[in-house]
Subunit: 186 residues, 2 copies
DNA sequence: GTCTATATTCCGATAGAC
DNA sequence: GTCTATCGGAATATAGAC
């Protein structure tokens, strides 16, 4: 796969996560690469195409992370910590996560992008729900709610807090992360 | 104040909350009102101007709600329930909340709009933090975290869940709301 | 005071050059 | 296979008509 293509995917993802889907243009990408905006259309014929590819790449990355944790025999606590680390990293890089950036624009996305975004969210919530459920059975976690409710609350907190920390410097993301984990301690 | 102006503010807010700030245009508003897009510029010279006015209107609405609850001598539990009802209403109307719609686009907003949005978020978090703190002192609520952490988690859950329920029909917002309240029961 | 005709800029996309 | 010149349209905004 071409290097330019890879760079476009990376630049596109960063633009979505900093400016939002409807605010970035092919121009933003091409100028960064020193080419004309139309050159980007060679690799990704339409913006729909690029957006969908970016989400697909992120799905793949998530699947690889999960596989990796299973291979290394991480317990539930370690898996949750690793997952949360993704968001702390985003926080440090002053970026939102892809889901938090695209979700508010969902109604304006093309059909193929909608499908992939939905798939990505379903996948994360399903994994998190099962992780919480298993963790509670193994007495690694303790909580009262139904696992799917708890998963939704945790995921939502991570996603929205990233959006808010971009605005309020005061908010301490590390502290939030700790709150979430402390809350699950047996 | 003119009726057209009021309608523009209302349409603008709905467009932000369904399509996002960078996806809606003056055309969207003017066509709905049966006038030319330039007529909207008479009431709001620039999009920055309109966006800022919409946020200011929302700040005012929030302040009125708080005043009203204080006047009616709502206790902390009733106040929290009333606050959460705003989001349940948004959910039923298939809209995101203003904060959740604008926050991801923060970097692309004009300076005056940024200032108001930041003010709005600060105001909500401050109010919620103090409510939780007071409620715990009065033994209306029970929780372990620091009040500001708890406020951030609750607010984030409400905001992001609205974004996610727009995508996943499966998610039960009523259930989430109940989870948040149950979690605070003494 | 209220709105329209029109300018300007930028966007995503096509056709075709190298 | 890779990229550029260029189009059609939509976005924001101004100047001026009623």
């Amino acid at each position: 796969m071409s290097v330019t293509r890879e760079k476009i995917l990376e630049l596109g993802e960063n633009l979505i996560r900093t400016k939002g889907y409807n605010a970035f243009s092919y121009q933003d990408i091409s100028s960064e690469l020193g080419i004309k905006n139309a050159a980007v259309h060679y690799y990704f014929p339409s913006k729909e195409n690029l957006g969908t590819s970016i989400v697909k790449t992120n799905i793949q990355r998530f699947e690889e992370m999960v596989d990796n944790m299973v291979n290394r025999k991480f317990n539930e606590w370690q898996q949750l910590e690793t997952f949360i680390k993704i968001y702390v990293k985003s926080y440090r890089e002053h970026k939102k996560c892809l889901v938090g950036s695209l979700s508010p624009d969902y109604n304006t996305l093309n059909e193929t992008t909608k499908v992939e975004l939905k798939k990505m969210i379903e996948m994360i919530l399903k994994w998190l729900t099962e992780l919480l459920d298993r963790g509670r059975n193994n007495e690694v976690f303790a909580f009262k709610d139904a696992p799917d409710s708890k998963a939704l609350i945790i995921f939502s907190s991570l996603v929205a807090s990233l959006q808010l920390t971009g605005i309020m410097e005061k908010i301490d993301y590390k502290c939030l992360q700790q709150s979430i984990l402390d809350d699950l301690k047996p």
